[in-house]
Protein backbone atom coordinates (compact mmCIF):
# COMPACT_ATOMS: atom_id res chain seq x y z
CA UNK A 1 0.00 0.00 0.00
CA UNK A 2 1.55 3.30 -1.03
CA UNK A 3 1.28 6.49 0.98
CA UNK A 4 -1.47 7.78 -1.26
CA UNK A 5 -3.47 4.62 -0.73
CA UNK A 6 -5.13 5.25 2.62
CA UNK A 7 -8.07 3.08 3.57
CA UNK A 8 -11.35 4.39 2.16
CA UNK A 9 -13.64 1.64 3.36
CA UNK A 10 -12.99 -0.94 6.05
CA UNK A 11 -15.66 -3.60 6.60
CA UNK A 12 -15.14 -6.01 9.50
CA UNK A 13 -17.30 -9.08 9.83
CA UNK A 14 -20.43 -7.38 8.56
CA UNK A 15 -23.59 -9.44 9.07
CA UNK A 16 -27.03 -8.50 7.78
CA UNK A 17 -30.19 -10.57 7.65
CA UNK A 18 -33.67 -9.78 6.38
CA UNK A 19 -36.94 -11.05 7.78
CA UNK A 20 -37.33 -13.32 10.76
CA UNK A 21 -37.95 -16.93 11.71
CA UNK A 22 -38.29 -19.43 8.87
CA UNK A 23 -38.24 -16.69 6.26
CA UNK A 24 -35.00 -15.16 7.49
CA UNK A 25 -32.48 -14.55 4.71
CA UNK A 26 -28.87 -13.91 5.60
CA UNK A 27 -27.69 -11.49 2.91
CA UNK A 28 -24.28 -10.84 4.48
CA UNK A 29 -22.68 -13.55 6.61
CA UNK A 30 -19.56 -11.79 7.85
CA UNK A 31 -18.06 -9.66 5.14
CA UNK A 32 -14.56 -8.35 5.61
CA UNK A 33 -13.37 -6.06 2.86
CA UNK A 34 -11.02 -3.17 2.47
CA UNK A 35 -11.20 -0.59 -0.25
CA UNK A 36 -8.27 1.71 -0.86
CA UNK A 37 -8.40 5.33 -1.92
CA UNK A 38 -7.21 5.98 -5.42
CA UNK A 39 -8.65 2.71 -6.61
CA UNK A 40 -11.67 1.42 -8.44
CA UNK A 41 -12.92 -1.75 -6.81
CA UNK A 42 -15.35 -4.04 -8.60
CA UNK A 43 -17.71 -6.19 -6.57
CA UNK A 44 -18.80 -9.25 -8.52
CA UNK A 45 -20.64 -12.48 -7.80
CA UNK A 46 -23.78 -14.46 -8.54
CA UNK A 47 -27.23 -12.97 -8.18
CA UNK A 48 -28.43 -12.82 -4.60
CA UNK A 49 -24.96 -13.13 -3.05
CA UNK A 50 -25.37 -9.80 -1.20
CA UNK A 51 -23.59 -7.23 -3.38
CA UNK A 52 -26.33 -4.63 -3.27
CA UNK A 53 -26.82 -5.18 0.45
CA UNK A 54 -23.11 -4.64 1.04
CA UNK A 55 -22.84 -1.37 -0.87
CA UNK A 56 -26.07 -0.13 0.70
CA UNK A 57 -24.47 -0.66 4.09
CA UNK A 58 -21.22 0.98 3.00
CA UNK A 59 -23.16 3.96 1.68
CA UNK A 60 -24.92 4.41 5.00
CA UNK A 61 -28.37 3.37 3.86
CA UNK A 62 -28.62 0.12 5.76
CA UNK A 63 -27.54 -0.71 9.29
CA UNK A 64 -25.74 -4.06 9.67
CA UNK A 65 -26.87 -6.48 12.38
CA UNK A 66 -23.31 -6.83 13.56
CA UNK A 67 -19.78 -6.03 12.51
CA UNK A 68 -18.40 -2.61 11.73
CA UNK A 69 -18.02 -0.37 8.72
CA UNK A 70 -15.58 2.47 8.74
CA UNK A 71 -15.52 4.96 5.90
CA UNK A 72 -12.64 7.41 5.75
CA UNK A 73 -11.92 6.65 9.38
CA UNK A 74 -15.46 7.20 10.65
CA UNK A 75 -17.50 4.41 12.17
CA UNK A 76 -20.93 4.38 10.54
CA UNK A 77 -22.52 2.53 13.45
CA UNK A 78 -21.57 5.38 15.75
CA UNK A 79 -23.40 7.91 13.60
CA UNK A 80 -26.89 9.15 14.42
CA UNK A 81 -29.53 8.99 11.71
CA UNK A 82 -29.02 12.65 11.09
CA UNK A 83 -25.25 12.26 10.75
CA UNK A 84 -25.71 9.32 8.39
CA UNK A 85 -27.96 11.43 6.20
CA UNK A 86 -25.36 14.19 6.17
CA UNK A 87 -22.68 11.59 5.44
CA UNK A 88 -24.59 10.37 2.38
CA UNK A 89 -25.13 13.92 1.19
CA UNK A 90 -21.55 15.06 1.59
CA UNK A 91 -19.35 12.01 1.15
CA UNK A 92 -21.12 9.58 -1.18
CA UNK A 93 -22.04 9.75 -4.84
CA UNK A 94 -24.51 7.24 -6.25
CA UNK A 95 -25.01 5.66 -9.65
CA UNK A 96 -27.99 3.31 -9.91
CA UNK A 97 -28.84 0.70 -12.47
CA UNK A 98 -32.22 2.37 -12.98
CA UNK A 99 -30.61 5.83 -13.24
CA UNK A 100 -33.43 7.19 -11.03
CA UNK A 101 -33.41 10.57 -12.70
CA UNK A 102 -36.31 12.88 -11.95
CA UNK A 103 -38.30 13.03 -15.19
CA UNK A 104 -39.70 16.48 -14.53
CA UNK A 105 -36.25 18.03 -14.22
CA UNK A 106 -33.86 18.85 -17.04
CA UNK A 107 -30.49 17.11 -17.23
CA UNK A 108 -28.72 20.07 -15.66
CA UNK A 109 -31.22 20.22 -12.85
CA UNK A 110 -30.98 16.48 -12.26
CA UNK A 111 -27.22 16.61 -12.15
CA UNK A 112 -27.31 19.54 -9.73
CA UNK A 113 -29.44 17.82 -7.09
CA UNK A 114 -26.63 16.73 -4.72
CA UNK A 115 -25.38 20.32 -4.57
CA UNK A 116 -28.90 21.55 -3.86
CA UNK A 117 -29.23 18.93 -1.14
CA UNK A 118 -26.07 20.40 0.35
CA UNK A 119 -27.74 23.78 0.29
CA UNK A 120 -25.75 25.40 -2.50
CA UNK A 121 -27.48 28.19 -4.44
CA UNK A 122 -29.30 27.00 -7.54
CA UNK A 123 -27.20 29.11 -9.89
CA UNK A 124 -23.91 27.71 -8.66
CA UNK A 125 -25.31 24.17 -8.61
CA UNK A 126 -26.52 24.45 -12.20
CA UNK A 127 -23.20 25.89 -13.37
CA UNK A 128 -21.18 23.05 -11.87
CA UNK A 129 -23.64 20.49 -13.22
CA UNK A 130 -23.42 22.01 -16.69
CA UNK A 131 -19.60 21.93 -16.63
CA UNK A 132 -19.65 18.27 -15.74
CA UNK A 133 -22.24 17.44 -18.39
CA UNK A 134 -20.03 19.21 -20.94
CA UNK A 135 -17.09 17.03 -19.95
CA UNK A 136 -19.33 13.98 -20.30
CA UNK A 137 -20.15 15.03 -23.86
CA UNK A 138 -23.69 16.05 -22.99
CA UNK A 139 -23.38 19.78 -23.70
CA UNK A 140 -26.13 19.84 -26.30
CA UNK A 141 -28.54 17.89 -24.09
CA UNK A 142 -28.26 19.97 -20.94
CA UNK A 143 -31.76 21.39 -21.03
CA UNK A 144 -33.54 18.30 -22.29
CA UNK A 145 -35.57 15.99 -20.11
CA UNK A 146 -34.37 12.48 -19.25
CA UNK A 147 -37.34 10.92 -21.03
CA UNK A 148 -36.06 12.32 -24.33
CA UNK A 149 -32.63 10.73 -23.97
CA UNK A 150 -31.18 7.31 -24.75
CA UNK A 151 -30.13 4.99 -21.94
CA UNK A 152 -26.46 5.78 -22.42
CA UNK A 153 -27.17 9.51 -22.29
CA UNK A 154 -29.29 9.10 -19.17
CA UNK A 155 -26.49 7.19 -17.48
CA UNK A 156 -24.08 10.03 -18.25
CA UNK A 157 -26.47 12.41 -16.52
CA UNK A 158 -26.57 9.99 -13.60
CA UNK A 159 -22.76 9.92 -13.52
CA UNK A 160 -22.67 13.71 -13.56
CA UNK A 161 -25.11 13.70 -10.67
CA UNK A 162 -22.95 11.21 -8.75
CA UNK A 163 -19.83 13.35 -9.16
CA UNK A 164 -21.10 16.91 -9.10
CA UNK A 165 -20.43 17.46 -5.39
CA UNK A 166 -16.96 15.91 -5.50
CA UNK A 167 -17.77 12.96 -3.22
CA UNK A 168 -14.87 10.99 -1.79
CA UNK A 169 -16.70 7.71 -2.25
CA UNK A 170 -18.68 6.77 -5.34
CA UNK A 171 -20.84 3.64 -5.28
CA UNK A 172 -22.35 2.25 -8.44
CA UNK A 173 -24.81 -0.64 -8.66
CA UNK A 174 -24.76 -2.28 -12.08
CA UNK A 175 -24.04 1.01 -13.87
CA UNK A 176 -23.73 -0.70 -17.23
CA UNK A 177 -26.54 -3.25 -16.97
CA UNK A 178 -29.03 -1.05 -18.81
CA UNK A 179 -26.50 -0.04 -21.47
CA UNK A 180 -25.21 -1.67 -24.63
CA UNK A 181 -21.57 -2.70 -24.80
CA UNK A 182 -20.22 0.50 -26.33
CA UNK A 183 -22.14 2.75 -23.97
CA UNK A 184 -21.13 0.59 -21.01
CA UNK A 185 -17.46 0.93 -21.89
CA UNK A 186 -17.85 4.66 -22.37
CA UNK A 187 -19.58 5.09 -19.02
CA UNK A 188 -16.84 3.19 -17.21
CA UNK A 189 -14.12 5.15 -18.94
CA UNK A 190 -15.78 8.39 -17.89
CA UNK A 191 -16.19 7.18 -14.34
CA UNK A 192 -12.51 6.30 -14.16
CA UNK A 193 -11.45 9.54 -15.70
CA UNK A 194 -13.57 11.81 -13.55
CA UNK A 195 -13.87 9.99 -10.25
CA UNK A 196 -10.42 8.60 -9.76
CA UNK A 197 -8.62 11.41 -8.06
CA UNK A 198 -6.30 11.14 -5.10
CA UNK A 199 -8.01 10.33 -1.85
CA UNK A 200 -11.14 9.03 -3.55
CA UNK A 201 -12.53 5.58 -4.06
CA UNK A 202 -15.03 4.02 -6.43
CA UNK A 203 -16.92 0.79 -5.81
CA UNK A 204 -18.76 -0.75 -8.72
CA UNK A 205 -21.12 -3.70 -8.40
CA UNK A 206 -21.35 -5.54 -11.70
CA UNK A 207 -22.10 -8.72 -13.57
CA UNK A 208 -20.52 -7.35 -16.67
CA UNK A 209 -17.20 -9.05 -17.35
CA UNK A 210 -16.47 -6.70 -20.22
CA UNK A 211 -15.77 -3.91 -17.75
CA UNK A 212 -13.38 -5.86 -15.53
CA UNK A 213 -10.52 -4.22 -17.34
CA UNK A 214 -11.35 -0.87 -15.73
CA UNK A 215 -10.82 -2.19 -12.22
CA UNK A 216 -7.83 -1.90 -9.95
CA UNK A 217 -9.14 -4.68 -7.79
CA UNK A 218 -11.96 -7.15 -8.05
CA UNK A 219 -13.68 -8.56 -4.98
CA UNK A 220 -15.48 -11.84 -5.64
CA UNK A 221 -18.53 -12.41 -3.49
CA UNK A 222 -20.52 -15.57 -2.93
CA UNK A 223 -23.30 -16.44 -0.50
CA UNK A 224 -22.89 -13.46 1.78
CA UNK A 225 -19.14 -13.22 2.04
CA UNK A 226 -16.02 -12.21 0.12
CA UNK A 227 -14.30 -15.24 -1.43
CA UNK A 228 -11.20 -13.52 -2.68
CA UNK A 229 -9.88 -10.20 -3.85
CA UNK A 230 -7.70 -10.05 -6.92
CA UNK A 231 -5.39 -7.15 -7.73
CA UNK A 232 -5.18 -6.25 -11.37
CA UNK A 233 -1.84 -4.86 -12.43
CA UNK A 234 -2.99 -3.45 -15.70
CA UNK A 235 -6.12 -1.50 -15.19
CA UNK A 236 -7.11 0.48 -18.22
CA UNK A 237 -6.29 4.14 -17.89
Amino acid sequence: MSAAQALAVDCRDVVKGFGSGEARVMALRGVTLQVNTGEMTLLVGPSGCGKTTLISAIAGMLTPDSGGIRVFGEDLERMSRRKLTAFRAGTVGFVFQQFNLLPALTCVENASIPLRVLGRPAGEANRRAAELLDRLGMAQHRDRFPGDLSGGQQQRVAIARALVHDPRLVVCDEPTASLDAANGQAAMALLRELAMKDGRAVIVVTHDERIYRFADRIAHMADGHIENVSDLETAAA
Binding site: T52, I55, S56, A59, M61, L62, R82, T85, A86, F87, R88, A89, G90, V92, F94, F96, Q97, Q98, N100, L102, P103, A104, L105, E109, I113, P114, R116, V117, L118, A122, D173
Partner: protein, 380 residues
Amino acid sequence: MAVVALRMLFGDRAKYFGLVLGVAFATLLVTQQGGMFVGLMTRTASVIADIREADIWVMDPQAKYVDTVRAMRDTELPRVRGVEGVAWAVPLFKTSAPVKTLDGRIDNAMVLGVDDASLIGLPRIILLGRPEDLRRPDAIAIDQAGYIRLWPGEPLRLGRELELNDHRAVIVAITQASPAFSANIVIHAPYSRAVTFLPQGRNTLSFVLARAAPGHTPGEVAKAISARTGLQALSSADFRWKTIAFYLANTGIPISFGLVIVLGVFVGIAVVGLTFNTFVAENIRQYGALKAMGLSDLRLTGLVLLQGAVVGLVGYGIGLGLAAMFFNFATQPPGALRGFNLPWWVAAGDAGLTALIVLLAMFASLRRVLVLDPAIVFRS
Protein backbone atom coordinates in the same frame (compact mmCIF):
# COMPACT_ATOMS: atom_id res chain seq x y z
CA MET B 1 -34.98 22.16 -3.45
CA ALA B 2 -38.37 23.88 -3.54
CA VAL B 3 -37.98 24.09 -7.31
CA VAL B 4 -37.50 20.33 -7.46
CA ALA B 5 -40.71 19.74 -5.48
CA LEU B 6 -42.69 22.08 -7.71
CA ARG B 7 -41.29 20.64 -10.93
CA MET B 8 -42.18 17.15 -9.72
CA LEU B 9 -45.71 18.35 -9.02
CA PHE B 10 -46.24 20.29 -12.24
CA GLY B 11 -44.46 17.61 -14.23
CA ASP B 12 -47.42 15.29 -13.72
CA ARG B 13 -50.10 17.40 -15.37
CA ALA B 14 -52.96 14.95 -15.03
CA LYS B 15 -52.50 14.40 -11.35
CA TYR B 16 -51.80 18.04 -10.66
CA PHE B 17 -55.10 18.98 -12.29
CA GLY B 18 -56.88 16.19 -10.45
CA LEU B 19 -55.53 17.45 -7.14
CA VAL B 20 -56.37 21.06 -7.85
CA LEU B 21 -59.85 20.17 -9.08
CA GLY B 22 -60.48 18.09 -5.98
CA VAL B 23 -59.63 21.01 -3.74
CA ALA B 24 -61.47 23.49 -5.95
CA PHE B 25 -64.59 21.35 -5.95
CA ALA B 26 -64.56 20.99 -2.17
CA THR B 27 -63.95 24.72 -1.75
CA LEU B 28 -66.74 25.63 -4.16
CA LEU B 29 -69.17 23.32 -2.42
CA VAL B 30 -68.27 24.46 1.05
CA THR B 31 -68.18 28.20 0.38
CA GLN B 32 -71.22 28.20 -1.86
CA GLN B 33 -73.30 26.16 0.55
CA GLY B 34 -71.84 28.00 3.53
CA GLY B 35 -72.74 31.36 2.02
CA MET B 36 -76.22 30.16 1.10
CA PHE B 37 -76.73 28.83 4.60
CA VAL B 38 -75.60 32.04 6.24
CA GLY B 39 -77.77 34.03 3.81
CA LEU B 40 -80.81 31.90 4.52
CA MET B 41 -80.34 32.12 8.25
CA THR B 42 -79.85 35.87 8.05
CA ARG B 43 -83.00 36.08 5.97
CA THR B 44 -85.08 34.47 8.71
CA ALA B 45 -84.47 37.59 10.74
CA SER B 46 -84.36 40.12 7.91
CA VAL B 47 -87.50 41.87 9.14
CA ILE B 48 -85.77 42.65 12.41
CA ALA B 49 -82.56 43.78 10.75
CA ASP B 50 -84.42 45.96 8.28
CA ILE B 51 -86.08 48.14 10.89
CA ARG B 52 -82.97 49.92 12.03
CA GLU B 53 -84.73 52.79 13.77
CA ALA B 54 -85.89 50.49 16.56
CA ASP B 55 -83.42 48.81 18.84
CA ILE B 56 -85.96 47.06 21.11
CA TRP B 57 -88.72 44.62 20.18
CA VAL B 58 -91.53 43.97 22.63
CA MET B 59 -93.86 41.00 22.14
CA ASP B 60 -95.98 38.34 23.76
CA PRO B 61 -94.03 36.40 26.39
CA GLN B 62 -94.61 33.15 24.46
CA ALA B 63 -93.14 34.35 21.16
CA LYS B 64 -90.19 32.22 20.07
CA TYR B 65 -89.25 33.95 16.83
CA VAL B 66 -90.34 36.72 14.54
CA ASP B 67 -92.81 34.68 12.50
CA THR B 68 -95.02 33.39 15.33
CA VAL B 69 -96.71 36.18 17.09
CA ARG B 70 -99.69 36.21 19.36
CA ALA B 71 -100.94 39.74 19.33
CA MET B 72 -100.97 41.80 22.50
CA ARG B 73 -103.71 44.09 23.74
CA ASP B 74 -103.48 47.62 22.32
CA THR B 75 -103.14 48.95 25.84
CA GLU B 76 -99.65 47.49 26.06
CA LEU B 77 -98.32 50.24 23.79
CA PRO B 78 -98.83 53.12 26.28
CA ARG B 79 -97.47 50.88 29.06
CA VAL B 80 -94.26 50.36 27.12
CA ARG B 81 -94.06 54.08 26.41
CA GLY B 82 -94.28 54.70 30.12
CA VAL B 83 -91.19 52.70 31.00
CA GLU B 84 -88.17 54.75 31.94
CA GLY B 85 -85.45 54.82 29.32
CA VAL B 86 -87.84 54.38 26.38
CA ALA B 87 -87.31 57.24 23.93
CA TRP B 88 -90.27 56.29 21.79
CA ALA B 89 -92.40 53.24 21.05
CA VAL B 90 -94.58 52.48 18.00
CA PRO B 91 -96.87 49.59 17.07
CA LEU B 92 -96.10 47.02 14.39
CA PHE B 93 -98.67 44.70 12.90
CA LYS B 94 -97.34 41.63 11.13
CA THR B 95 -99.22 38.90 9.35
CA SER B 96 -99.28 37.04 6.09
CA ALA B 97 -102.08 37.20 3.57
CA PRO B 98 -102.99 36.06 0.06
CA VAL B 99 -102.71 38.68 -2.67
CA LYS B 100 -104.48 38.51 -6.00
CA THR B 101 -103.89 40.63 -9.08
CA LEU B 102 -106.76 41.75 -11.26
CA ASP B 103 -105.74 39.24 -13.89
CA GLY B 104 -105.98 36.47 -11.32
CA ARG B 105 -102.40 35.81 -10.28
CA ILE B 106 -102.23 34.64 -6.65
CA ASP B 107 -99.32 34.73 -4.24
CA ASN B 108 -98.53 34.99 -0.56
CA ALA B 109 -97.37 38.20 1.08
CA MET B 110 -95.96 39.25 4.37
CA VAL B 111 -97.91 42.32 5.43
CA LEU B 112 -96.46 44.82 7.84
CA GLY B 113 -98.63 47.53 9.35
CA VAL B 114 -96.42 50.42 10.41
CA ASP B 115 -97.17 53.31 12.74
CA ASP B 116 -99.58 55.71 10.97
CA ALA B 117 -97.82 58.85 12.09
CA SER B 118 -94.14 58.02 11.88
CA LEU B 119 -94.24 55.19 9.32
CA ILE B 120 -91.37 53.61 11.30
CA GLY B 121 -90.78 50.17 9.80
CA LEU B 122 -91.13 51.28 6.20
CA PRO B 123 -88.03 50.27 4.18
CA ARG B 124 -85.55 53.08 3.76
CA ILE B 125 -85.14 52.51 0.05
CA ILE B 126 -88.19 53.66 -1.87
CA LEU B 127 -87.63 53.07 -5.57
CA LEU B 128 -90.82 54.72 -6.74
CA GLY B 129 -93.48 56.88 -5.01
CA ARG B 130 -93.54 58.84 -1.78
CA PRO B 131 -94.08 57.51 1.75
CA GLU B 132 -96.69 60.23 2.46
CA ASP B 133 -98.93 58.77 -0.22
CA LEU B 134 -99.51 55.75 2.02
CA ARG B 135 -101.96 57.94 3.91
CA ARG B 136 -104.25 58.01 0.87
CA PRO B 137 -107.20 55.61 0.84
CA ASP B 138 -106.37 51.94 0.19
CA ALA B 139 -102.72 52.81 -0.34
CA ILE B 140 -100.00 50.21 0.15
CA ALA B 141 -96.29 49.83 -0.64
CA ILE B 142 -94.97 46.68 -2.27
CA ASP B 143 -91.39 45.49 -2.63
CA GLN B 144 -89.78 45.42 -6.05
CA ALA B 145 -89.24 41.66 -6.09
CA GLY B 146 -92.87 41.10 -5.16
CA TYR B 147 -94.02 43.44 -7.91
CA ILE B 148 -91.95 41.53 -10.44
CA ARG B 149 -93.44 38.26 -9.21
CA LEU B 150 -96.94 39.56 -9.69
CA TRP B 151 -96.29 41.32 -13.00
CA PRO B 152 -93.28 39.62 -14.55
CA GLY B 153 -91.50 41.52 -17.27
CA GLU B 154 -93.54 44.66 -16.80
CA PRO B 155 -92.03 48.02 -15.86
CA LEU B 156 -92.50 49.31 -12.33
CA ARG B 157 -95.61 51.49 -12.27
CA LEU B 158 -97.55 53.15 -9.49
CA GLY B 159 -101.34 53.10 -9.23
CA ARG B 160 -101.74 49.40 -9.93
CA GLU B 161 -104.36 47.59 -7.96
CA LEU B 162 -104.43 44.27 -6.26
CA GLU B 163 -106.64 42.43 -3.84
CA LEU B 164 -105.37 41.96 -0.35
CA ASN B 165 -107.62 39.55 1.51
CA ASP B 166 -110.49 40.64 -0.77
CA HIS B 167 -109.87 44.33 -0.08
CA ARG B 168 -108.88 46.61 -2.93
CA ALA B 169 -105.37 47.96 -2.45
CA VAL B 170 -103.52 50.52 -4.58
CA ILE B 171 -99.78 50.55 -4.97
CA VAL B 172 -98.43 54.00 -4.19
CA ALA B 173 -94.83 53.10 -3.51
CA ILE B 174 -92.36 50.45 -4.56
CA THR B 175 -89.71 49.60 -1.98
CA GLN B 176 -86.58 47.55 -1.76
CA ALA B 177 -87.23 45.44 1.32
CA SER B 178 -84.94 42.60 2.30
CA PRO B 179 -86.47 39.34 1.15
CA ALA B 180 -88.58 37.68 3.82
CA PHE B 181 -88.02 34.07 4.73
CA SER B 182 -91.68 33.14 4.88
CA ALA B 183 -93.17 34.95 1.88
CA ASN B 184 -92.36 36.03 -1.66
CA ILE B 185 -93.90 39.47 -1.40
CA VAL B 186 -93.50 42.16 1.24
CA ILE B 187 -96.31 44.69 1.62
CA HIS B 188 -96.27 47.71 3.91
CA ALA B 189 -99.36 49.68 4.91
CA PRO B 190 -100.27 52.06 7.70
CA TYR B 191 -101.13 50.19 10.88
CA SER B 192 -104.76 51.27 11.02
CA ARG B 193 -105.45 50.17 7.46
CA ALA B 194 -103.55 46.91 7.72
CA VAL B 195 -105.56 45.77 10.75
CA THR B 196 -108.90 46.49 9.06
CA PHE B 197 -107.85 44.67 5.88
CA LEU B 198 -106.70 41.66 7.79
CA PRO B 199 -108.75 41.22 10.93
CA GLN B 200 -106.99 38.96 13.36
CA GLY B 201 -109.51 38.81 16.16
CA ARG B 202 -109.61 40.97 19.23
CA ASN B 203 -105.94 41.92 19.50
CA THR B 204 -103.85 43.35 16.69
CA LEU B 205 -100.63 44.55 18.26
CA SER B 206 -98.02 42.08 17.04
CA PHE B 207 -94.98 43.99 18.23
CA VAL B 208 -94.07 47.19 19.91
CA LEU B 209 -90.96 48.72 18.40
CA ALA B 210 -89.05 50.94 20.79
CA ARG B 211 -85.86 52.87 21.02
CA ALA B 212 -83.68 53.28 24.08
CA ALA B 213 -83.20 56.88 25.16
CA PRO B 214 -79.67 58.28 24.93
CA GLY B 215 -77.61 57.07 27.86
CA HIS B 216 -79.44 53.73 28.06
CA THR B 217 -78.49 50.49 26.36
CA PRO B 218 -81.23 48.58 24.50
CA GLY B 219 -80.50 45.55 26.69
CA GLU B 220 -81.12 47.31 29.99
CA VAL B 221 -84.21 49.13 28.69
CA ALA B 222 -85.58 45.82 27.37
CA LYS B 223 -85.09 44.34 30.83
CA ALA B 224 -86.91 47.24 32.40
CA ILE B 225 -89.82 46.84 29.94
CA SER B 226 -90.10 43.14 30.77
CA ALA B 227 -90.04 43.85 34.46
CA ARG B 228 -92.70 46.55 34.29
CA THR B 229 -95.08 44.99 31.74
CA GLY B 230 -94.55 41.25 32.01
CA LEU B 231 -94.08 41.21 28.22
CA GLN B 232 -91.11 39.78 26.41
CA ALA B 233 -88.75 42.59 25.44
CA LEU B 234 -85.49 41.99 23.62
CA SER B 235 -82.86 44.15 22.03
CA SER B 236 -82.96 43.91 18.23
CA ALA B 237 -79.67 42.01 18.25
CA ASP B 238 -80.97 39.50 20.80
CA PHE B 239 -84.23 39.03 18.93
CA ARG B 240 -82.38 38.41 15.68
CA TRP B 241 -80.27 35.75 17.30
CA LYS B 242 -83.28 34.24 19.02
CA THR B 243 -85.03 33.97 15.66
CA ILE B 244 -81.98 32.52 13.90
CA ALA B 245 -81.44 30.08 16.76
CA PHE B 246 -85.06 28.98 16.47
CA TYR B 247 -84.64 28.13 12.79
CA LEU B 248 -81.34 26.43 13.48
CA ALA B 249 -82.88 24.27 16.16
CA ASN B 250 -86.29 23.59 14.63
CA THR B 251 -85.75 23.12 10.90
CA GLY B 252 -83.78 20.71 8.75
CA ILE B 253 -81.90 23.60 7.18
CA PRO B 254 -78.67 23.31 9.17
CA ILE B 255 -78.63 19.55 8.71
CA SER B 256 -79.19 19.60 4.97
CA PHE B 257 -76.61 22.33 4.39
CA GLY B 258 -74.31 20.76 6.93
CA LEU B 259 -74.54 17.44 5.12
CA VAL B 260 -73.57 18.96 1.80
CA ILE B 261 -70.65 20.74 3.44
CA VAL B 262 -69.49 17.59 5.21
CA LEU B 263 -69.89 15.74 1.93
CA GLY B 264 -67.77 18.37 0.19
CA VAL B 265 -65.08 17.96 2.81
CA PHE B 266 -65.10 14.19 2.53
CA VAL B 267 -65.12 14.17 -1.26
CA GLY B 268 -62.25 16.65 -1.11
CA ILE B 269 -60.28 14.45 1.26
CA ALA B 270 -61.03 11.34 -0.79
CA VAL B 271 -60.18 12.82 -4.18
CA VAL B 272 -57.11 14.70 -3.00
CA GLY B 273 -56.00 11.84 -0.77
CA LEU B 274 -56.29 9.15 -3.43
CA THR B 275 -54.73 11.28 -6.14
CA PHE B 276 -51.89 12.39 -3.93
CA ASN B 277 -51.33 8.84 -2.83
CA THR B 278 -51.02 7.71 -6.44
CA PHE B 279 -48.76 10.64 -7.16
CA VAL B 280 -46.45 9.69 -4.30
CA ALA B 281 -46.60 5.99 -5.17
CA GLU B 282 -45.57 6.72 -8.77
CA ASN B 283 -42.78 8.98 -7.63
CA ILE B 284 -41.65 6.79 -4.77
CA ARG B 285 -38.32 5.99 -6.42
CA GLN B 286 -37.69 9.67 -6.90
CA TYR B 287 -38.34 10.38 -3.25
CA GLY B 288 -36.13 7.37 -2.47
CA ALA B 289 -33.35 8.70 -4.68
CA LEU B 290 -33.53 12.06 -2.94
CA LYS B 291 -33.37 10.28 0.40
CA ALA B 292 -30.43 8.17 -0.71
CA MET B 293 -28.64 11.31 -1.85
CA GLY B 294 -28.86 12.62 1.68
CA LEU B 295 -32.01 14.71 1.77
CA SER B 296 -33.15 14.69 5.41
CA ASP B 297 -36.62 13.56 6.44
CA LEU B 298 -37.34 17.07 7.62
CA ARG B 299 -36.59 18.59 4.23
CA LEU B 300 -38.38 15.78 2.45
CA THR B 301 -41.44 16.47 4.58
CA GLY B 302 -41.06 20.11 3.66
CA LEU B 303 -41.07 19.21 -0.04
CA VAL B 304 -44.21 17.10 0.26
CA LEU B 305 -45.93 19.78 2.34
CA LEU B 306 -44.94 22.39 -0.21
CA GLN B 307 -46.53 20.28 -2.93
CA GLY B 308 -49.65 20.02 -0.81
CA ALA B 309 -49.66 23.71 -0.03
CA VAL B 310 -49.46 24.64 -3.71
CA VAL B 311 -52.32 22.28 -4.54
CA GLY B 312 -54.33 23.67 -1.64
CA LEU B 313 -53.72 27.31 -2.54
CA VAL B 314 -54.41 26.97 -6.25
CA GLY B 315 -57.47 24.79 -5.67
CA TYR B 316 -58.79 27.10 -2.97
CA GLY B 317 -58.28 30.10 -5.23
CA ILE B 318 -60.18 28.51 -8.09
CA GLY B 319 -62.97 27.24 -5.85
CA LEU B 320 -63.33 30.59 -4.12
CA GLY B 321 -63.33 32.38 -7.45
CA LEU B 322 -66.12 30.15 -8.74
CA ALA B 323 -68.12 30.63 -5.54
CA ALA B 324 -67.62 34.40 -5.76
CA MET B 325 -68.81 34.33 -9.36
CA PHE B 326 -71.88 32.41 -8.29
CA PHE B 327 -72.72 34.91 -5.58
CA ASN B 328 -72.03 37.76 -7.95
CA PHE B 329 -74.34 36.58 -10.71
CA ALA B 330 -76.99 34.50 -8.98
CA THR B 331 -77.83 37.03 -6.30
CA GLN B 332 -78.57 40.08 -8.44
CA PRO B 333 -81.78 41.71 -7.29
CA PRO B 334 -84.59 41.09 -7.70
CA GLY B 335 -83.74 37.36 -8.04
CA ALA B 336 -84.76 34.90 -5.37
CA LEU B 337 -81.20 34.80 -4.00
CA ARG B 338 -80.86 38.58 -3.73
CA GLY B 339 -79.02 39.70 -0.64
CA PHE B 340 -77.06 36.48 -0.40
CA ASN B 341 -73.33 36.92 -0.31
CA LEU B 342 -70.12 35.24 0.65
CA PRO B 343 -69.16 36.58 4.09
CA TRP B 344 -65.41 36.92 4.52
CA TRP B 345 -65.49 34.65 7.54
CA VAL B 346 -67.09 31.84 5.53
CA ALA B 347 -64.23 32.15 3.03
CA ALA B 348 -61.69 32.30 5.85
CA GLY B 349 -63.27 29.32 7.59
CA ASP B 350 -63.10 27.38 4.37
CA ALA B 351 -59.42 28.28 4.02
CA GLY B 352 -58.87 26.53 7.33
CA LEU B 353 -61.01 23.62 6.17
CA THR B 354 -59.01 23.37 2.94
CA ALA B 355 -55.78 23.25 4.90
CA LEU B 356 -57.31 20.47 6.98
CA ILE B 357 -58.46 18.59 3.87
CA VAL B 358 -55.02 18.79 2.30
CA LEU B 359 -53.25 17.80 5.51
CA LEU B 360 -55.53 14.83 6.13
CA ALA B 361 -55.31 13.82 2.49
CA MET B 362 -51.52 13.94 2.58
CA PHE B 363 -51.19 12.16 5.87
CA ALA B 364 -50.89 8.66 4.41
CA SER B 365 -48.61 9.82 1.61
CA LEU B 366 -46.36 11.67 3.99
CA ARG B 367 -46.04 8.63 6.21
CA ARG B 368 -45.16 6.58 3.18
CA VAL B 369 -42.36 8.93 2.23
CA LEU B 370 -41.04 9.09 5.77
CA VAL B 371 -40.84 5.34 6.36
CA LEU B 372 -39.45 4.84 2.86
CA ASP B 373 -36.22 2.89 2.84
CA PRO B 374 -33.77 4.76 0.61
CA ALA B 375 -32.20 1.42 -0.26
CA ILE B 376 -35.14 0.77 -2.61
CA VAL B 377 -33.34 2.82 -5.22
CA PHE B 378 -30.88 -0.02 -5.64
CA ARG B 379 -33.65 -2.53 -6.28
CA SER B 380 -34.81 -3.01 -9.79
